[in-house]
């Protein structure tokens, strides 16, 4: 187990102070987003000619099913940009992305703004000799501003922040069988790293070439290249699961990459994208933006049969992603997502496959994921996730055990994770979807590694969830 006391970081006090200041800043952003939305909501109701008094008298708001989409001066290219999830990835179009929308006018024209944010407060318990427990908070907040450029073009810039470097102490939270990245100079095993403070900073331009043809260019000092499905923090089917997938580093781990450049063309229900980016995973200083050469590439093909389905296949070569591991990774992924609008939300499901080929060890490691969230009776969500992942880093940093297992059983172990969960919405604030929930994970593992994990390792989480949303 990695302990904070083994590798004390210099300047810890400075980091803690910075964390407090940034926490205040992010809190202020959330409050400002909510306040702006409330002001604009009033303005919208006045513009539509329905006064608050009228609504109160006739009770019309009880029937109204609009989503307060308070946007102006848009064109089809704007709509393309508005549907993006992380980088250039998209959930199926039928999914109403939870966000607060408003607009403002400036000397440079009208800007539509979108605010998205999710924060969980989680208490986790992971069983066995390699488990642990922790109270932590995964969270992110995103602000995007979109501006129409001429009749056919649109520009958007977005900033995504996370306070996880402060709210996930010890540079990790316990998650059995999770691997990837480093903390205090050692590989993280059985734990999930926090995301960087700046999760995304990107600029995108889209131009409508023809009625159903769009050309786009995306540059992000920190962003998400065209590789993999929508990353789990932004994926519709993962909205009620605070913890990461253990297949994260097989499928969507590049969602925080540096120096991302992507071009794409969309025609009807197909979209082809190509990216260049800096392949190294984020370093241990999670408060900064790393910089590096564009030394990795990826390409992705999307297929949208209709607005309820989104499918992608992608492949990329990631140059030296792991700081402590030699070699590059060649990653291939495929995913299929289905969205069915229902009262109280959307039934969202994702199936994904990811394979990493390591150029140093020549290993091919596969991962499979099925994930779903189902709204029941408007305020209840039942969720589930099943994963099968080939793991070869579970004993990194323990050369004795690694060598022993390698001689007797090999170096790769297929692990299964089976999660079921439930969330109950409790309406506390108009623009914040508040809920309480819990989930439980049972793992399957080969007998060879049971002496290190126990025969029946399990994990559990109880949590409170806060998510910005447009009021119904």
């Amino acid at each position: 187990m990695i302990g904070e006391t083994e590798f004390p970081l210099p300047g810890g006090a400075v980091r803690r102070r910075a964390a407090r200041q940034l926490l205040a800043l992010l809190g202020a952003c959330l409050v400002a987003g909510t306040a702006l939305a409330q002001d604009d909501g009033k303005q919208q109701r006045q513009e539509s000619g329905a006064t608050a008094n009228e609504e109160a008298q006739d009770g019309s708001h009880t029937k109204d099913t609009t989503t307060s989409m308070n946007m102006v001066d848009m064109n089809p290219a704007s709509m393309e940009l508005m549907n993006l999830a992380s980088g250039t990835s998209v959930n199926a179009a039928a999914w109403p992305m939870p966000m607060v929308m408003t607009h403002f006018r400036s000397p440079f024209g009208t800007w539509n703004t979108m605010y998205m944010g999710t924060a969980f407060l989680v208490d986790t318990q992971q069983s066995g000799p390699r488990g642990g427990d922790k109270l932590y908070s995964p969270n992110w907040f995103m602000a995007a501003a979109e501006h129409r450029v001429g009749a056919r073009g649109a520009f958007q810039m977005d900033l995504m922040l996370s306070l996880e470097p402060a709210t996930i102490t010890g540079e990790r939270y316990p998650l059995l069988f999770q691997t990837g990245e480093t903390a205090y100079g050692k590989p993280i095993v059985d734990g999930q790293h926090p995301h960087n403070f700046i999760m995304g900073l990107g600029f995108q331009y889209t131009y409508q070439l023809a009625e159903e043809t769009f050309l786009s260019a995306y540059f992000a000092p920190v962003g998400d290249p065209a590789l993999g499905p929508v990353a789990f923090p932004h994926r519709a089917s993962a909205m009620e699961l605070p913890q990461a997938t253990i297949s994260h580093h097989w499928q969507d781990s590049t969602h925080i990459s540096d120096e991302v450049l992507t071009v794409g063309i969309e025609h009807k229900n197909l979209r082809l994208e190509a990216s260049g980016f800096y392949g190294s995973e984020p370093g241990e200083n999670r408060w900064i933006i790393q910089a590096g050469p564009i030394n990795s590439w990826a390409t992705r093909l999307w297929f949208f049969p209709n607005k309820y389905w989104a499918a992608q296949v992608s492949v990329g070569r990631i140059a030296h992603p792991e700081a402590l591991e030699p070699g590059d990774q060649v990653r291939a992924t495929a995913s299929l997502q289905y969205i069915k609008p229902m009262p109280g939300g959307s039934w969202a499901s994702t199936f994904a496959w990811g394979r990493d080929h390591d150029t140093a060890t020549f290993r091919n490691l596969n991962s499979y994921l099925a994930e779903s969230v189902l709204p029941v009776f408007r305020k209840n969500f039942i969720t589930g996730r099943v994963e099968l992942v080939d793991k070869d880093e579970l004993f990194n940093g323990q050369p004795g055990i690694e060598q022993h297992l390698d001689v007797l059983y090999g170096s790769t172990f297929r692990v299964g994770a089976y999660t079921a969960g439930y969330t109950r919405d409790v309406a506390l604030l108009r623009f914040v979807e508040t809920g309480v929930g819990a989930n439980f994970t049972s793992y399957s593992l080969p007998p060879a590694i049971k002496p290190y994990y126990g025969n029946h390792p399990v994990g559990g989480n109880i949590f409170v969830r806060f998510r910005l949303r447009s009021p119904e």
């Binding site: 513009e47 539509s48 000619g49 329905a50 006739d58 019309s60 029937k63 109204d64 099913t65 609009t66 989503t67 989409m69 946007m71 102006v72 001066d73 848009m74 064109n75 089809p76 709509m79 508005m82 549907n83 179009a93 039928a94 999914w95 109403p96 992305m97 129409r148 009749a151 607005k307 609008p341 009262p343």
Partner: protein
């Protein structure tokens, strides 16, 4: 006898509660709702169609409320037009269960 009468009354009540009504209004979408100021240089019809391609759904704006429609195929023919919808309002689902839909020619002429 009393039992039979009460059962009959219950049945009639249930039938009356689900009796089809007529709703008249404009076919809109759940994103824009009452007005279509969102899209620049586009007709209301184009705006509705664009929104429904995304997460929006076809709905009926009767001048007061914007109510979802169970049928999402018929309204495609009447985007941004006045229609007469026959169906029942499902209070729980907050939507109109559409039986039929036709252009509201008489009111459109007004």
């Amino acid at each position: 006898m009393i039992k039979r009468t009460s059962m009959t009354l219950t049945l009639v009540g249930a039938l009356l509660a689900n009796a089809p009504s007529t709703f008249t209004g404009v076919i809109t979408d759940t994103l824009c709702g009452r007005t279509h100021g969102m899209m620049r240089a586009s007709s209301d019809e184009a705006c509705v169609r664009m929104c429904v391609k995304g997460s929006g759904e076809y709905a009926l704006f009767d001048g007061k409320d914007v109510v979802k429609l169970s049928d999402q195929k018929q309204p495609a023919k009447f985007a941004a037009q006045r229609v007469k919808v026959t169906g029942t309002y499902d209070e729980k689902a907050k939507r109109i269960e559409v039986a039929s839909m036709e252009p509201a020619r008489d009111q459109a002429a007004e």
